[in-house]
Assembly symmetry: C2
């Protein structure tokens, strides 16, 4: 018999340089969170399915690693840590006064192998602010997420802020069959604007909100889009979302984050539990998000301790799709570091107008920065 | 439906003070290991059962959390990390030159609920030295384990060193039915000397080794027991074990550890893979070991890369049965700290002849140190 020396497909060993990069990144993030008053908690790898089902939708439940415990109960390996922290706040910490600021660092697992040998075990660091509603709490968590991206070594990043209620208000207002609404939601979540247009073309109904749905791809940018969207919506739910977004953006500017924060009214999240401001952080590659979070005011009540809450998790502490060498390493050192963090592309700045771009397995090309950005973006849209 | 707010039985949340104690202890140990040249690696939570079976005995396999993967393969949550590290050394690191010094920090899981609500997820830090045979390597790993106990905050500890081959040599030499040999092994592993005596009383055979088995409880102490045992054994396997033990002990004295190292010829380990020097570290309570390790020269060959190896894991980074306040905290601070680390007993030194002992839920008693030691030991023999 030949044992599987590479381990189970989808599960990766982290070699010394990678493991040390990951551990150092976790420590930096936890340290930043502690500075903001967040206390570290550790929740188990295994949770009862009854607990996890309180926060996950059908698709997420399908992706859980489930098994039967010795006592015949169905349990699962955790796929995210917000739900376990909510259980902890309503359970062992039920007599602790709110607001509670908690943070964690831990593995999360997915039974889904996905395409392209997706990793099934990833390492997340996250923070949860439980018992605080309002724009100040939203802004605190977004600002903390931004500082965490810096602490993780990202010098250039962007945070897109949206609101779960903006879309919900439009869905309430438009008269569309449930199946079309579900399709619209899926298309937006996947950012598949072609599918969105096709869906809406086939419906005869017209309304301001209907028009707005078609303009979703454009509802991403600076504060000017708030005014543009405000002129189009005709429902109180979406209007309230816009005014909350405006307030949070003001506070983020006050946090010194005006330069990195953008608005994204078309943001739709996979998680059922989001109820308000939602956000995503992106590294320089603008591919998959490196951080994700938002407000979830109804989750705690499902555990018997009603409380507003907001939080986020950093999803990729290394292995980002492209890494930008901001430390001007020598070529050889840059390559060692690039291999260690497991990124597909290495970007090295060669002055203001030239960038050296190396794709894994390819040669190095020196190009103007905008061409490199376009190629990286193009490969992943 | 009422969700299980306490989580799945056997799985505990760690509250802020506990989580921070654990994380800080992990960091201190990894830092100590890095100083000794050990590089950090991270292996997955999930391994193929084929891989784990290469190192575990039937009882340990039974305790694994097993489940069927989406591809129909039987996988399990890791119950220890030495076997995954061996797989890694023979796999992804197969072209890395030996000796390799590697360390890890990670959760391990047990499906066994055991008696007394045993924890099913614990957090271990460990080190493996692969590709080095001989007493110097054994002594290095034992000395590193000792320094790790200090780094974890234990000011008083003891390391008992034994040899897997000493017992094997005796088992080869004595003529006993296989079932009796298995019983002897179990009785020694459980340190159940009453059962051992009963078993041996019922066998008519007599030999030097037979006598020696009965004297196993006494074969624990300083270097004098090597001479005593040497006078009793008549087989080369055990004699070789004794001479290796003598050499390792000399080196540990040279490491400055003469005061904390004891010999234990009756040591038997649960793990099938040990082939040479084995050891256990104990905190001041002398209950369950806080660290455990030894030489396993045949494990790597099962993965196709034959190499000698030795290593250890720290089993309890907090939650020790008794904690000794070596920092002379004020009573109130000592109690906060004691609760945080989750120990059952708090020991405070009140000068040379008095010790304050507080059991959880009980009042504080001031007693001579030897009485406290006897009571703590008595409760767990």
């Amino acid at each position: 018999m030949t044992p599987q020396l590479g381990g189970v497909p989808g599960f990766r060993d982290l070699l010394p340089e990678e493991a040390e990069v990951l551990r150092a990144a976790q420590e930096s993030l936890l340290e930043e969170m502690r500075r903001w008053g967040y206390r570290h908690v550790i929740t188990p790898m295994v949770e009862s399915i009854d607990v996890l089902e309180l926060g996950l939708n059908a698709d997420q439940r399908r992706r859980l690693f489930k098994f039967i415990d010795a006592r015949g109960e169905v349990v699962a390996l955790v796929g995210e840590r917000t739900i376990p922290v909510a259980r902890l706040v309503a359970g062992k910490l039920r007599s602790a006064a709110l607001p509670l600021r908690l943070c964690y660092a831990g593995a999360v697992l997915s039974a889904d192998e996905g395409r392209f040998h997706q990793r099934r075990e990833t390492y997340q660091v996250g923070a949860e602010l439980v018992g605080a509603s309002g724009a100040a709490a939203d802004a605190e968590v977004i600002a903390l997420a931004a500082r965490c991206l810096e602490a993780a070594g990202l010098r250039r990043y962007q945070v897109d802020v949206g609101h779960a209620e903006f879309f919900q208000g439009i869905m309430d207002a438009v008269r569309l069959p449930a199946v079309v609404k579900a399709g619209v939601r899926s298309a937006l979540a996947a950012r598949d604007f072609v599918a969105l247009e096709e869906l809406l073309e086939r419906t005869p109904l017209r309304s301001a909100e209907h028009e707005l749905l078609l303009r979703f791809p454009a509802l991403r940018g600076g504060s000017e889009i708030l005014a543009a969207a405000g002129g189009l919506v005709r429902n109180r739910r979406s209007e309230k979302a816009l005014s909350e977004l405006a307030r949070v953006q003001e506070l983020l500017v006050a946090h010194g984050l005006g330069g990195v924060v953008g608005l994204d009214l078309g943001a739709i999240r996979d998680f059922d539990y989001y109820t308000g401001i939602i956000f995503e952080g992106y590294g320089p590659d603008l591919g998959r998000p490196v951080a994700q979070g938002g407000r979830y005011d109804r989750l705690l009540s499902r555990f018997g301790r009603p409380a507003p809450a907001t939080g986020f998790a950093t999803l990729r502490l290394f292995g980002m799709r492209a890494v930008v060498d901001t430390e001007a390493r020598r070529d050889r050192d840059a390559r060692t570091w690039w291999r260690a963090v497991g990124a597909e592309n290495l970007i090295q700045c060669r002055g203001a107008s030239k960038v050296a771009w190396t794709a894994r397995g390819g040669r190095t090309r020196t190009l103007p920065p905008e061409q490199v950005a376009a190629r990286l973006a193009g490969a992943h849209v």
